[in-house]
Structure formats: C-alpha cells, structure tokens
Subunit: 218 residues, 2 copies
Amino acid sequence: MRDEYRADLLQVNKLLVWMADAVRSAMKRATNALLNADQTDAEEVIARDAEVNALYRLVEDKVYDLCARQAPVASDLRLLLTALHLAADLERMGDLADHVAKTALRRHPARAVPEPLVETFEQMGEVADRIAGKISSAISNLDIVAAAQLERDDDAMDKLHTGLFGIMFSPQWTEDTESAVDSALLGRFYERYADHAVNAGRHVVFLVTGETLDTRER
Amino acid sequence: MRDEYRADLLQVNKLLVWMADAVRSAMKRATNALLNADQTDAEEVIARDAEVNALYRLVEDKVYDLCARQAPVASDLRLLLTALHLAADLERMGDLADHVAKTALRRHPARAVPEPLVETFEQMGEVADRIAGKISSAISNLDIVAAAQLERDDDAMDKLHTGLFGIMFSPQWTEDTESAVDSALLGRFYERYADHAVNAGRHVVFLVTGETLDTRER
C-alpha cells in the first residue's frame, strides 16, 4: 500500500514537471512570436494550451483518486492539496503565455511590441524563462534553493514592469493608443506569469519542508 | 457524526456567502471610488481586502480539518475541494476589486476614468454587482438558476469590454497614454472579475448537481 502511494506521488510529481516544462516552452515561444511577429510560434502556443489544461486535469484526477483510495492523514492531505494549488498556478501560467501569443497573432504581420519596448519585453521573456526553468527543476529535484530564488527573479520582473510604464509615460513616447493598450496588457501578462511562478515556488517549499508560507496571490 | 459533518458543511457555506458578499461590496465601492475619485472608498476597499483573504484561509482550514476528521468518501471529497476552488475564485475577485481601488487612489484627486469611458465603467460596475449578487444568492440558497444566469451576465461584460476598446481605438479618442493604460488594465480587472464569478457559478452548479462542468479559467 505504502509503495503504491509513493508511486502515485511520484506520478503526480512527474505530471507537475511536465506542466512546468510545457508552460516554460509556451512562454518562450510566445515571446518569440511577440518580438518577431512569428505566426507559427503564436499558433503553436495557442494550440498547445489545451495540453497544459489536460495535464492539469490529470493532476486533479490523480490527486482526487489518491485521496479517495488512501484516505491520507491530515499532513499528507495538505501535501496533496498543495500539489493541486501548484498545478493551478502552472495552468494559469500557460493561460498567460496563451494571452501573449494571441496578442502577437492579432497584430500579425505587424509586431505587437513597439520599438521603444522591444528590449524590455526581451528581458521580461528572459526572466520568465529563467523563472519557469527554476520551477521545473525545483519540482523535479525538490530543490528549495531554486524555489527560494524565485522571489528575487520576481523582483527583477517587477522592476522591468515599472520600467515599462516609465518608458510609456515619458515625453519621447509617440506610439498610438493600440500600442499603449497592448503593451500595458502584455506587461501585466508577464508580471502575472512571474507572480504565479513565485506562488508555485512557495508551494514547492511547503511540499519539501512542510512549512506554511503565505501563498496568497498578489 | 453525520450531524457534525452537516454542521461543518453549513459553516463552510456561510463563510462562502460571507466572502461573496464581501467581494460584491468591495467592487461596488471600488467602482464608486473610480468614477467619483472617492479616496475614502478606495482606501476602505484596499484595507478590507485582508478580510477577504482571512475568510479564504478560514475556508481552507475548515475544509482541511473536515477532510482530516471525516475521511470523506470520493464524492464528498470532490465536493469539499470544489468549495475550495469556489473560495479561491472569490478571493481573486476581492483582489481585482482591490486593483480597481488602487488605480482610483493612484490617480486621486483626478478621476482615473476619462470622460468617454465613464458610461462603460458605470455599466461594468453594474454588471459586476449583479454578478456578485447572484453568486452570493446562488451559494446561500444553492440556487443553480442564478448560477446558470451568470454566463449571460458574463456575455454582457465581454460586450462592454469589447466596446471599451472600440471607444479607445476610435479617431475621437484624444486621451493621453496614462489614461489609455489605466483604462485597458481597469477593463481587464472587471472582465476577470466576471470570469471568476462565472467559474464560481460553475462550482455552485457542481456542488448542487454533482455534474462536472468545465471550470477552467479562460
């Protein structure tokens, strides 16, 4: 019974790593779609969001099934529910990559990001990729050091987000309203992606240490 | 035992109604703060978001406790986890009201919403209030008719959201970039508020009928 339980937990872990890798790859391609007006990448990200949702559903089913079959004690239960929270954050990260891709596609063949913000979004894409990479390795190796570093990466994202508004509200900004609207929303998508990654990291820390952290989204 | 279980469920239900009422009132006041540049209302909404988060935590603790003490069978477990999902959606609605209030406060004493969009945001506020009212009564009376109506209200919100961009991208639009950015983000806050309400409604339908619906966020 105990062995079976461990095997089930391992499978949940594998599914979570799979989700993390999927939402990492999604945001990487979405960023490329955005910066290079790449239609293929944009369409691929949008098409593949369904896979992330399907993985989320698998995690949910697996956890429900585990709870029902094993009637876990309180501490194990909290662990399993934490895995659910983690999956929910990853699923949402997939949605946000999907939003970025859809913005890129809507403006195709034009580039959705205006020239003055290209560098900012390049950097946001890099931070997002670094963050998602850490989440993946934090889950797969139960690496709480990587998980804990996410807060710092999130600070970098917040700084880029603030800088984005600095550029948009400067007197040199001459882009039209549509560009302003797209850029503001895109900035929010990247920022939320990082927020969910930080939440996911906190869930990993809890999974490993059993220590409760504030996991409320901001 | 069974009686105790029922009493616990009733308490979870009460907490959820409390949360729904709180996030309804929060968005109502946030909308007033936004449209009338009302600093008191804005500050009140921001201060009270912590209460919504505390209620969420109470629901979580209650559900964990229930799971641990009662070792519910699979169907009951799914019910309890659905209550958790519902609470998470309500908590997020509170966050979004908080975001609206913060935007109002940041622009105070100026009004964050420019003249051409006042009517749109008035209507978005009305739809948000109607939606939140239905969620509250759907939870407290397990009223699946009210819950099902939420999809239609959400359509109304989506239409307002589309209309908002129509106004902003029209040649008559002469507002500055900051107004465009704020309006785009505010529009998204209201739209997400309604999305979470629709999710919450689906959770209520599931709680009452046991029928699974697609509750993925968009």
